[in-house]
Symmetry: C2
Subunit: 158 residues, 2 copies
């Protein structure tokens, strides 16, 4: 339940491409310098983003990366899924059933419902934030996000 490094850095790099993209492609070296990361590492991250079609690459001199779609059309959820897979796998119960053949909790798996709910809530939230939103700076995020999106829960589970 933590951010992976790949998510954090990958999203930062994607954001740098979004910021720096003024028509001409953004080279890896620029992104690396601005983030204080090695060019090799940024290259690896950009590859993941490219393979998930969030950016496109241009090879050769004056080459680099560009967003595959407008910043308004790329959500944080898109990036997180590209960099670390879906939030809630769905196959978790099956994959993590221990030594039993099928999920030991098939009958009363209260956790499955919980994680599914957490996952979809998170997905909804992150799918509502685009790169364009993030480019407006930290103050936007602070002020625009509802303070307690899950507070409704308090009414339900006293």
């Amino acid at each position: 339940m933590k951010l992976s490094s790949q998510e954090e850095y990958g999203l930062r790099c994607l954001l740098q491409v979004a910021r720096l993209d003024q028509g001409s492609p953004v080279p890896i070296s620029d992104v690396a310098q601005r983030e204080g990361l090695s060019t090799d590492y940024v290259a690896k991250l950009m590859r993941v983003l490219r393979q998930h079609e969030l950016v496109v690459s241009v090879r050769g001199p004056q080459g680099g990366y560009k967003l595959a779609r407008p910043a308004e059309d790329i959500t944080v959820h898109d990036a997180v899924v590209a960099l670390d897979g879906p939030l809630y796998d769905g196959g978790f119960c099956e994959a993590h059933s221990g030594k039993q053949v099928s999920c030991v909790h098939s009958t009363r798996c209260s956790l499955r419902g919980l994680w599914r709910w957490v996952g979809s809530a998170l997905e909804q939230a992150l799918a509502g934030i685009t790169l364009a939103d993030l480019m407006r700076g930290e103050s936007f995020v602070d002020s625009a996000l509802p303070p307690l999106p899950a507070s409704a829960l308090a009414e339900v589970t006293p």
Copy 2:
């Protein structure tokens, strides 16, 4: 942004202790059998839970584990923090600043605000669900949780 195995299994084991605890301590072997895990692995997980004072142990024959507090007073957030640390570290920006001495994003770190918001929303949500809630079975979780706690976001970021 995924559940660690330790979180998933640790929470399951904790839940088993909560379910089976009828006055006498629950031995590791019982939990292991019900979860289809090795006793050694369950022992390791229970140790983590004990060190974070979510359960207490009783040694010797007829020994085992008991909840340290009533199931109503142990939240999913308590368990997640015990098993995997706090959701949003706060020191992430500092720890993951790449090769620079200080966070490259100190001025316009839009991500920091985002993760802080995600972390606290998640924390609020998970702190509202107790072991007692989970013991009521999957149907409770499905019906009791608000369908889209973060849907308010749609109004803010069109």
